[in-house]
Point group: C2
Chain length 201, copies 2
Amino acid sequence: MIKLPNLSIALQEQITNNSALVEIPADTEILREGQYVKVIPLVLEGLVKVFTKYEDKELLLYYIQPNESCIMSFTASLKNEPSKVYAITDENCKLLLLPVDKVAQWIGEFPDLNNLFFQQYNLRYSDLLETINQLLFDKMDKRLLDYLKEKVALTKKNPLKISHRQIASELGTAREVISRVMKKLEQEAKVKQLSTTIELL
Amino acid sequence: MIKLPNLSIALQEQITNNSALVEIPADTEILREGQYVKVIPLVLEGLVKVFTKYEDKELLLYYIQPNESCIMSFTASLKNEPSKVYAITDENCKLLLLPVDKVAQWIGEFPDLNNLFFQQYNLRYSDLLETINQLLFDKMDKRLLDYLKEKVALTKKNPLKISHRQIASELGTAREVISRVMKKLEQEAKVKQLSTTIELL
DNA sequence: TGTAAGTGGTGACCAATGTCACTGTTTTGT
DNA sequence: ACAAAACAGTGACATTGGTCACCACTTACA
């Protein structure tokens, strides 16, 4: 049986018997913009990134960590609306795919699942609000530094292996801007760059 | 008994017997940043605005319309966290104040209330995402025009009575910027200004 | 090993918008 | 009606970030 902390045994059984366990390699798109959703992914291992996008510009909204779910999928599926965001695996992941119709039923039967979903909505609301505050109140240097700090905290790796281009796309800006700001951070001794790795000091 | 569309009679009775009905004049702060919340407001009549703020700069996040609630209050109260946003009445309002502990109980007993809360979370997630997209992808002229369109739609008044300063604060920018952009919109025949009123064409 | 693709560095320039200073007009309150 | 307060208009300038052009370096792989 699949272990799910904080959920009742009865629910864990239901989920185990009705969901698909899948392994997805890193950097794979698991939810497309505009897609109609029929399963709710629950992350068991790994890390998933959720983005908004318009034309060539995109922005990382938040990460989905183990034991969290993509509540937007639930939302979109409930109202039978296409997804407004898209999601990519950041690492190799193990996901549990819960069928939407079952979830709707479980919500009514299992208060602990109901609570989990409320918590998830709550968490995402906070994530989006934080994103808004950064866009509105912070300059690029602070946004970049916060981004790097979060990345280090989540992946538990310090010299990060990531390209300027990649960072730019997650922060919704251009590569040159990241290069420019990164140089400034390096001069301020906040980061150190070695070939394609970035160390947070 | 207080009429609440889409809620069961039994729940309407519970709510009527356990909540306070209050009337609040326009432009009154009903939820402060950092405040701990003990009631969930449900808007019966009027319009409430929700903002985020940092130092002198603030931004309108979304409106709460009749038969909607401030789900963030619920969230904050559940986790006993201070509110990250603040709310102001935009018009004279009738609000129903639901005690948090009762709501937590009703959520388990009345599936229709549970559904309402899911819908509200969903709605606010969409509102915040829309706000992010505007901040990230749109220039001031489009943001201002969208703001005016929404205001006209919500208040059902066309020549709007509102100052540039007010608009600036709701869009998180400066008065001069609004004056400048408004002039441009006027030249493009998208709005018409007469003393302190703005008409959307 | 050599070529292509990806990556980063950099200067010049542009566009959007935030800021300042100052003016004149409109509205409000008494 | 008058003074005070709020509001709007505007030119000049600063800052931030986006764009372009182009060069050099590294990596992948055929």
